[in-house]
């Protein structure tokens, strides 16, 4: 099975509010997908549906399971770390390791202990006595010791300092990811994950606004910093959007090759955050 997640006409409403509106998405094995959107765009709603934490309308299949009715089966193949600290404060580090070993058939205690050996987390302390960074490290060590197919990370680095954040993603790539697995990440810190993504999905008002591979994205979208003399010529090529920062003008182009553009100035790849702003503000100049 290469198709891990498929949603057709996935919707979810809370009263009158449509949190997800006819979402169609396919996520395959070996992908690292960035799910990006503003607060309240529907990221968490979509993730909750995938994880079986809430009911939904439409079709949704995750690893061949209906997430809502088969959550306990699904969780053998899917792991997640949500946006808030969820490890209970009263549990000891040694106890939580025993617990996961007891309830998860695909957990390797050895792997968890090896991962924890690289940290300074004490085994006999309660989670409530650990620093915020340690709690995230502990949670990540537990999750990485589970040989699951899909890993969902909802704002995993929220509130962590920059040292931990960098280490977090490094470790994820080095010690966890392989082509049989799929990782879905939501975050506000787009720049942080840009380099590790294989695919990106933008979501706004419960709708998928953009869904493409990073390779395609980088091929299609470019940013041009024209030399001052050639600004007007470049503008004549009908850029998708014009940006001004610090008095300099830049143009964002879609479907123009590097060669054509480089005549007018420096051509750079468009960062995901700029692409996000470009697509989400929706203004075409």
């Amino acid at each position: 099975m290469t198709n891990y997640i498929s949603a057709k006409g996935l919707s979810k409403s809370y009263g009158d509010f449509l949190a997800l509106d006819d979402v169609n998405v396919t996520i395959n094995k070996g992908q690292i997908v960035g799910l990006i959107g503003a607060n309240g765009a529907g990221k968490t709603t979509m993730i909750n549906a995938i994880l079986g934490l809430s009911s939904f309308d439409g079709e949704l299949s995750v690893m061949g399971f209906d997430p809502y009715t088969q959550r306990n089966e699904l969780m053998k193949e899917v792991c997640f770390i949500s946006d808030v600290a969820t490890l209970p404060k009263w549990i000891k580090v040694s106890e939580v390791i025993q617990f996961v070993e007891g309830v998860h058939p695909k957990f390797s205690r050895e792997k968890a202990l090896n991962l924890l050996a690289e940290t300074t987390i004490p085994m006999n302390k309660k989670v409530g006595k650990l620093s915020k960074g340690m709690v995230v490290q502990l949670h990540l060590a537990l999750i990485m010791a589970i040989d699951a197919k899909i890993l969902v990370l909802d704002e995993p680095t929220l509130g962590l300092d920059i040292m931990y954040r960098k280490r977090f993603y490094e470790q994820l790539l080095e010690d966890y990811f392989d082509e049989e697995k799929t990782i879905i990440i939501t975050t506000h810190q787009v720049d942080e994950i840009e380099n590790i993504l294989t695919d990106v999905i933008f979501i706004r008002d419960g709708r998928i606004m953009y869904d493409a591979s990073m390779e395609e994205t980088m091929g299609v979208w470019k940013i041009l910093d024209p030399t001052p003399a050639k600004v007007d010529e470049a503008r004549a090529l009908s850029p998708y959007r014009e940006m001004k920062s610090l008095g300099r003008i830049s143009f964002i182009f879609k479907d123009k090759d590097h060669k054509t553009l480089s005549v007018y100035g420096d051509v750079r790849r468009l960062s995901l955050s700029d692409l996000f702003v470009t697509l989400m503000t929706g203004e075409k100049s």
Binding site: N48, L51, G52, L53, S54, S55, R71, N72, E73, L74, M75, K76, C79, F80, I81, S82, V84, A85, T86, L87, P88, K89, W90, I91, K92, E95, Q98, F99, V100, E101, G102, V103, H104, P105, H139
Partner: protein
Amino acid sequence: MLNSLTKINGYNPIKALFLKEFWEHRRAILVTPMVVTGLVMFFSIVAMINGTGMTIDGASMAEHLAEAEDFPLESSDIITMLIIVPSMILFLVVSFSMIFTALSVLYDERKDKSILFWKSMPVSDAQEVLIKLATITIVTPLIAIAFALIVQIFSTLMLGIFVAINSDISAWNLVFTNINVGGLLMADIIPLFVNILWAMPIIAWFMLVSSFSRRSPFLLAFIAPALVAVFEVVFFRSTLFLQLIGSRFTHVDKYGYRFEDGDGVNLVEGSLGYLESLAEPSFWAGIVVAAAMIYGCIQIRKRNSLS
């Protein structure tokens, strides 16, 4: 032994879930009865040193002992009853532990968001809720019974020493070889679990409140029924609802009398009498109501994970 019991090696979800509940509610399940046991022992020693002795049913220990000697046929049960009495406080304490655990068991995990962690594991909501219920209604009372046994063994020793010091009666004959061990165990186990079964709708109600309450399940669990009762009294001039709650406890009077059957104490008859109460239709009505509320807990936990 406790160490090997808490060790999990490999996949064993039921054991892991029970241990998780034990770890979370260690204070209510283990520490509280342990402290009470310590206090009971301490005060029995103080009472003995002070020489005031223990007074039960308005009679001093010496009087009870004299009575026991007069009725040799009954003395076994009387002596056994004497050592049960100091341990009874544990059965009172365990009911408070059960109430507090039931009120927090589905509330705290939502409050500290750990429900999202539990839900990231391959365990169903039904498994979680049923194991929480079993922790409250089986594990908690069993631990209390274990502590009651400790108190009872201690009381036996104390009573033996008391008899040896204060009378000419042989402590060996009157106390140590005279205890009705079968009757003691039945009296420890049967009434407690029968009472719990009768109270199932109340326990399930506490769990249900803890599954949906946004804040302070404790207040809601008591205020809501109180309001219903007041409403009924004011508007219908009836007390049906209160009688319904009361019906969970009437079996104690109705069936428990056999503990003092005719001319003395009878532990075996008394305990078996409790079992007969399970034949009442109102008992089974309560079980059905409790089952419906537990089903509600499972459904609410399934839907309500996100605060």
